[in-house]
């Protein structure tokens, strides 16, 4: 269902996490296309899958270690609509890993055309006081394999 696409091409390429989603009846509005809040529900699920893929699932990070990863900024372009029944692919890459922050790039693609692009800024927080904290070392290391660029 999800794969790493570690490109072999000569140009510099980010390491990508790719997750496929089917556009379901429940995602669509009276115009028969994805209702945009549902894109964000899907996108949140893709980020959830990515954390699990890193070996740091939210069930552990959030529920047990009390480390939150709230979104503080989300800038989105809706390029083309996605229709009921479409298969779309979410491409997640890391733009920047800061002391407490993390910038993700999302490109959603269906049938060879971009559907949506989003830039998401997350921050590590303590769920006890909701203040920013530095990423724990093991989490930073897990994220770091997505900050490399192939060439």
């Amino acid at each position: 269902m999800t794969t790493d696409a570690n490109s072999d091409e000569l140009d510099v390429q980010p390491v990508e996490f790719i997750a496929e989603r089917l556009v379901r009846f429940s995602d669509c509005d009276p115009a028969g296309i994805v209702f945009f809040p549902n894109y964000f529900r899907m996108l949140n699920g893709v980020v959830e899958d990515w954390w699990a893929h890193l070996g740091k699932p939210w069930t552990e990070l959030v529920s047990k270690r009390r480390v939150g990863t709230p979104t503080v900024q989300l800038d989105t372009s809706f390029v083309l609509p996605s229709n009921f029944g479409d298969t779309i692919r979410f491409h997640l890459s890391v733009e920047r890993l800061g002391t407490s922050s993390l910038v993700l790039q999302h490109v959603v693609v269906g049938a060879d055309s971009a559907r949506m692009r989003a830039r998401q800024v997350l921050v590590a927080t303590s769920l006890d006081n909701h203040k920013a904290i530095p990423w724990p070392d093991d989490v930073r290391q897990a994220i770091n394999r997505f900050t490399e660029r192939t060439s």
Copy 2:
């Protein structure tokens, strides 16, 4: 439930449409705060209320006249979380009205603190071919009362 706040202050103020919302159980995530896709569902409902307030409800505009108003860009800052049970107010104002486009500013406020800010770009389209069209004259006129600035 919704009011126009036509400011009497001396500084230049946009005409605002204000809608109040209660943060419900169904809006909240396991951390007890608004799950961000639900903010967008609420925000879409506020825009829906605003069109009705303009005398151009989507039930007429979209369903009968086949004029769509898809969102093409949405840039959002999440300033502070909103908790289950909070009453929050959505302040909608018009930043710019173009030939086919419309830029809305949203500020969501709860208990005197900003919770979320969003800038939303909409485009008028024909629902028959999904191409951009100029805003119909009556729609443009209805929107225009929100493009004035008081001073």
Copy 3:
């Protein structure tokens, strides 16, 4: 927005809590009618409003007193579809108040026709061990004004 309808008629009538809802764009599916899981989100919000109306809001009951009110049975008839733009009214009445249980009847009406009927069984639980508990006395008293029948 919500009212008690304490009937004056001669026949036996339950005390009803009535809440009005607008069928929004976000509630509807590609057929332009309410997507049934969204009826249940609305219904849950009506029950939430009812608890607040009783003076026992979930923010206090659930969050502070750790008394849960999970639904254990929900039987629903979908009579007629509701369309985008419809105003519908949820009529809530109490069928039975048991030691730990509560049976609610819901009738959803739009434009003089029934749209949905539901029978919902709730149970009082401790949120510390998720076991059934008797309704606390003050909660039982608050519910009891809805168990009376007028004649």
Copy 4:
């Protein structure tokens, strides 16, 4: 992701369609368990997968052939809560296939315990006038392989 479980056991067993779902962050409420309207969104997706599995996807049936399959009755028991991170399995079987109706049984299971049971009555309708119609022959035949019982 989905399989037919055609039992070899001696007792009479229905033919089952089984679909697995991960309980996501977005499915859960402030108590950290599945918010019940989200169970119905999932269940609707499982039924959608089943129609696709029958070779009669909604994208064809609903969008092209204008045959609707609205739910008219849905009776649900919530047996045990499902937690964030749980993997749950939806077991769908056919209880009865009528001229225009279809009765489905759903059992949702997680970690060897039943979580939810539902009985769902669907009706075939013409989307042109929303009246009941007999199931088209090819649809009836496709459903029929799920009406057999093994022994």
